[in-house]
Subunit: 302 residues, 2 copies
């Protein structure tokens, strides 16, 4: 059964369940016992936070979630592996930006847990992970950050005469920070379409041919729309309008540092000299209309 | 006078002003006449949208904003230049992710304009730009996307039986899209501290030594925290904890594909072999405590 990322229709944030069987029947978490629903190929789509691991920490909008393995009756008695299915699934979701449903269960001593049963608490992203040594055994701790828990995003208030904002999204979600612009420089759109293109190219950049390999057996790449989505460009989210690029080539391509010829030559936007050729695979057809419309953003032509 | 990015204390979104002089006195827009407050070094911090350029288009949460130059009495009579101060300022803000205050003025035919005077309408990011030919003259059109206009972020509603969401942030802000995870894969934190480090290195990656040059005379780089901000790492936002990296090295560094030795050697996280040395400048001191704490995320040591 293919993973379904995001909210599940009919079960809004705050929905409660008596037990794991009901949760599973609702489609929120496919596993009967395991805390992580995930695999290395698709990623993880949901986790249950139930206090089973003593190293879990729950700050509400930020959860430090312990990977699976090596645990017996709440005690760490062996190493965890980053290639174990659930852990590799969370790592894949970290790299791909998949959102993970968080279900909190009763038990443990977290103030955020429900009193009884299980509660769907919304979508989190896997921001990062680290190795943690517990009783001398290797474990992994994933940092989950709230993205959509159905609440109003900002809580602006006066504090010591200065204006503070508690961002709901983002990295400082658990602590008030002085109000100042703190913004992603780059936002990369994700979709089933971009994922398909990345899969075809196995993460290899179509321009510079680099693989960005990280531990755990994954390659990082980005799905780049040739003609940007949204006004004024109105490029479509179809595979014929998407390239698999490394972040560097993606930045250059989006800001006029690279464009393509009709023969799919890669051109340096500063010198207007061709510096290479776009790598293609048979399955991945590219529509020249989008290539030309992108080029017209940067190059004066008829 | 140094540019102030973000909201101005005492003047919340929706504040109204009778004229440009009052707007200037409030600190919202430093220019008496020009529509763009900006320069190539610092970026643009505010724009006034007043319908002076016929090619401006206002969709509410998305504004297509025409650069300055070559315009007489609302008619394009000459080319614009991307190196003109305001245009270069907007380009800098696009590359750096600076948020721009948008002030709408009466005039023009936009339904989003105030009936009289000027109104502060919140913070937008400069998502992209393109060349547009108007009467045979080159102009630039910047795409501004609402980030913080003081409204509730999402408007979930039923439409044709499917659940749709109108994201307030992000790229599809002006049109409803099917509800599905659409998430930045990478979020890069911005601060005065990261900007200072990037300035010291003039945008050169400290690991691979690349410059990512884009048209307009700018180099793209990212400020990377060595020890990540926020729980559980709690790395500080200080120059001693920040590197200037290209996006590729930043991805690798954040996911264990690169780490540093105490001598600031650059190590491949898969092979654990040293592949280079971190480039440093005299002014930029790096604190080894953060280097070690980052390394401990990936490497088993005592």
């Amino acid at each position: 059964m293919a993973k379904v990322f995001g909210h599940i229709a009919g079960h809004p944030v705050g929905s409660c369940f008596a037990n794991r069987a009901d949760l599973r029947a609702a489609g929120l978490h496919s596993q009967r016992i395991a805390g992580i629903s995930g695999n290395p190929r698709e990623g993880a789509d949901s986790v249950v936070v139930s206090g089973g691991y003593s190293t879990d920490e729950d700050f509400g909008d930020v959860i430090l979630y312990t990977g699976h393995g090596g645990n017996r009756d709440g005690r760490q008695v062996g190493d965890q592996s980053i290639t174990a299915p659930g852990n590799a699934g969370l790592l894949r979701s970290e790299l791909e930006g998949h959102l993970v449903r968080v279900i909190r269960g009763a038990g443990g001593d977290s103030p955020y847990s429900p009193a009884v049963g299980l509660r769907y608490d919304g979508l989190f992203r896997v921001e990062s992970h680290r190795s943690v040594w517990v009783n001398g055994f290797l474990t992994f701790q994933f940092r989950l950050v709230a993205v959509d828990t159905g609440r109003v995003p900002s809580d602006v208030r006066e504090q010591d005469g200065e204006e503070y904002v508690t961002p709901f999204h983002g990295d400082e979600a658990h602590s008030p920070v002085p109000r100042q612009p703190s913004q992603a420089q780059r936002a990369v759109r994700k979709s089933a379409v971009t994922q398909r293109v990345k899969d075809w190219h196995e993460g290899q950049c179509q321009m510079c041919l680099q693989f960005l390999a990280v531990p755990g057996g994954f390659t990082y790449s980005e799905g780049a729309h040739i003609l940007a989505i949204g006004r004024p460009y109105d490029g479509p989210d179809v595979v014929e309008n998407v390239l698999c690029l490394c972040p560097n080539c993606h930045v250059l391509f989006d800001h006029g540092g690279r464009y393509l010829t009709d023969e799919l030559g890669v051109v340096d936007g500063l010198t207007h000299e061709q510096i290479g050729e776009l790598r293609t695979v048979r399955a991945h057809r590219i529509d020249l209309r989008y290539v030309r419309a992108h080029r017209r953003r940067w190059v004066a032509e008829g």
